[in-house]
Symmetry: C2
Subunit: 406 residues, 2 copies
């Protein structure tokens, strides 16, 4: 018998309680033990819930109960979640979480603490919701030198971009819809502006490359600048637009890491990742390319990943899983502007002839009354910017500039 507590009875916490209860037989068989939910910690009461009798309000009850071996943290955020996680680990309990913000910001410290206490800190649900990615990356692909990880990591923005692309609606309309459907928060900034995807690509980079990457060190661009013109041009040129988190190992051993909208060639697997789904491509020197695809969010898919970690923690109560990374390394993250990309550029008040004078190898050049759009040669952001500046000096106005995933 392994007893656990859930901290935070919101969407994911409720899902975990439900999955543990509904799939108890399967879960206990896999754990080769009986897993029992003993407490649910929340500031609220839930008199209508079938789990009402497990709800408590005082964390110290959990902290001081030696029967509790596993704590599931589904509070989210950095404050209370951090405090309770630390105290649970210090009390010798394994902690399982879906809290990407906490893992991305303080993962190195919490893993170190778990190691010192010979318990586990597991977070499969923090990236890709229910999609298995943390274990595959750290175990199944562990014989590879990882070259790159690129993923559609945020379901909300992918829903919006898919609606814009397939149905021609404006970004604002699609966002409102996403909010009505519960895919987006009232304040959608963490999705729309990229921080959510940024935390996830940081966690993947931490695991793949062994150093903590601070989210603040990552170039992060959101989707708010994407228009129907961009969508239409991309489509005509054989691309779809996706918000990608991307980390690439460089020849000098450092990495480039960013979150930004990209044009993705339609024949690439990531181009087929539509709606609220996520897809994560990992490229290694032996495996070549693999993709993991599924529901990147939602109550039950996320709970599925949390519950799998619970099973794993129950099987490894006194032996540590080999999930690890070290502190920040100075200069490990290289300048994003050095990355070589082709760009899709849209300029107002500029003719195709003017474009071709400065970008003689431009491709898919399309002149309309409102703009001229084209695709550059592969170049650094600086080189492209310098050339665009020349056109702007002659009166052109940059309307958009989007990277292309080649």
């Amino acid at each position: 018998m392994v007893k656990l507590a859930i901290l935070g009875f919101g969407t994911v916490g409720t899902g975990v309680a439900e999955v543990l209860s509904q799939n108890a037989q399967t879960i206990n068989a896999h754990a080769a033990d009986t897993i029992e939910l003993k407490y649910i910690l929340d500031i609220r009461d839930f008199p209508e819930s079938p789990f009402a009798d497990k709800v408590i309000h005082d964390f110290s009850v959990i902290e001081n109960d030696p029967e509790i071996r596993i704590v599931v943290e589904t509070i989210g955020g950095l404050r209370v979640a951090y405090d309770y996680t630390k105290r649970a680990l210090l009390a010798g309990k394994s902690v399982v979480t879906s809290n990407k913000e906490l893992v991305a910001e303080r993962g190195a410290e919490l893993i170190k603490l778990a190691r010192e206490k010979n318990v586990n800190y597991l977070f499969e649900a923090s990236v890709g919701g229910g999609i298995p990615i943390i274990r595959p990356l750290t175990q199944c692909l562990s014989a590879n030198d990882i070259h790159e990880i690129t993923g559609v990591l945020n379901g909300t923005t992918n829903y919006i971009l898919t609606r814009m692309q397939k149905d021609g609606v404006a970004l604002e309309t699609a966002l409102k819809e996403a909010q009505e459907n519960g895919y987006a928060e009232a304040n959608p900034s963490a999705d729309i502006d990229g921080p959510d995807a940024c935390r996830k690509i940081c966690i993947l980079a931490d695991l793949a490359f062994g150093h903590h990457i601070a989210p603040s060190a990552v170039t992060t661009e959101g989707i708010s600048g994407i228009t129907q013109q961009d969508m239409q041009y991309a489509k005509d040129a054989g691309y779809v637009i996706k918000l990608l988190g991307r980390v690439v190992r460089r020849d000098d051993g450092r990495i480039n890491i960013l979150v930004a909208p990209h044009l993705v060639p339609m024949e690439r697997p990531l181009a087929g990742v539509s709606g609220v789904f996520n897809g994560i491509v990992v490229i290694g020197n032996a495996i070549d390319e693999v993709m993991f695809y599924g529901r990147g969010a939602g109550k039950l898919p996320t709970a599925s990943a949390v519950a799998a970690d619970v099973i794993d923690a129950a099987k490894h109560l006194v032996s540590r899983k080999f999930i690890d990374w070290s502190d920040d390394a100075p200069d490990f993250v290289a300048d994003t502007n050095e990355m070589i990309y082709r760009y899709c550029v849209r300029l107002g008040n500029c003719t195709a002839a003017q474009v071709l004078a400065v970008f003689p190898h431009a491709q898919s050049v399309t002149e309309t009354p409102e703009y001229t759009a084209f695709i550059t040669d592969p170049a650094s952001a600086r080189d492209v910017e310098r050339k665009i500046d020349r056109l702007c000096a002659d009166g052109a106005v940059q309307q958009s500039r989007i990277r292309i995933l080649d």
Copy 2:
């Protein structure tokens, strides 16, 4: 220091030696130990190989060397591979394999033997080549009741079908090409007729549902009957044709399992799995749908999966991994003809009017001088067959009948 031996120095065996050598630093870091290749067993010598000095010809040297803790079996087939695997396990060594035939046929027995000796028998590479699927299925999705697994499991047939679909070549031409490119054997029957995919879906079913499924119990249809007419009709109706391995849990607790060509709707993720790539969709009650995509064969991708198992075996020299299934259960596999499918049917010497008289709800009915093709309502194979028999009694000739993945 953990020492290992490779049995069989063919394509995969060579790949394993190369990956262990090239990625030694990464591998040793993940194993938290040094993994050293001590012997390579083969009947041949390889004087030109960088590993020539490790080649031996007598298995008993490996069997009797207490330093050898892990044996990699990349011989293939059922005879020698079975004998050596058994002897290695009996000698207390963990065994890692890519041999899908052996796992599908004798997995239950070998896992049982491994359990008795407290060692591991691992086979991530046996399904999906380098794609992580065994661990994700047994660990990451372990909190789910699995409903269905459906996959493009054979790269050779998928290459052929993709060439037929995208470039309009005939099956024979595409097969010849596949043989020239090394994707298909001189005797392509194991690919073309479905046995290879059958072994893989059996292994996945074994793991997901806990009972050994004998490959001989699985309805297995290959692709040799697929023509350009089928391809063209499928395309016009919004489908692509894929050879799928499929296992579905029924409400009565039994399973349906088959390997057969299917029409896959173009918007489904599996439809985008092209060329030699594999894709495996798993549907569980919490996770909904996840897909694993990548190279399902090839020297280095397969070696990547073998090497990951080697790392795992090295980390679990004296503790068992929870991979398990029991012997065959009588009546566990239900009659495939009971499965409810829509079918795409093509009949010669039959008009659209005649079809509609028997199949009043037929969809996408297309009459040409050579045939009339249509899509049935969902029905059992028996019901559809009975109706087609009525048309055949009036002179119609069945040219093809293909299931549709809905």
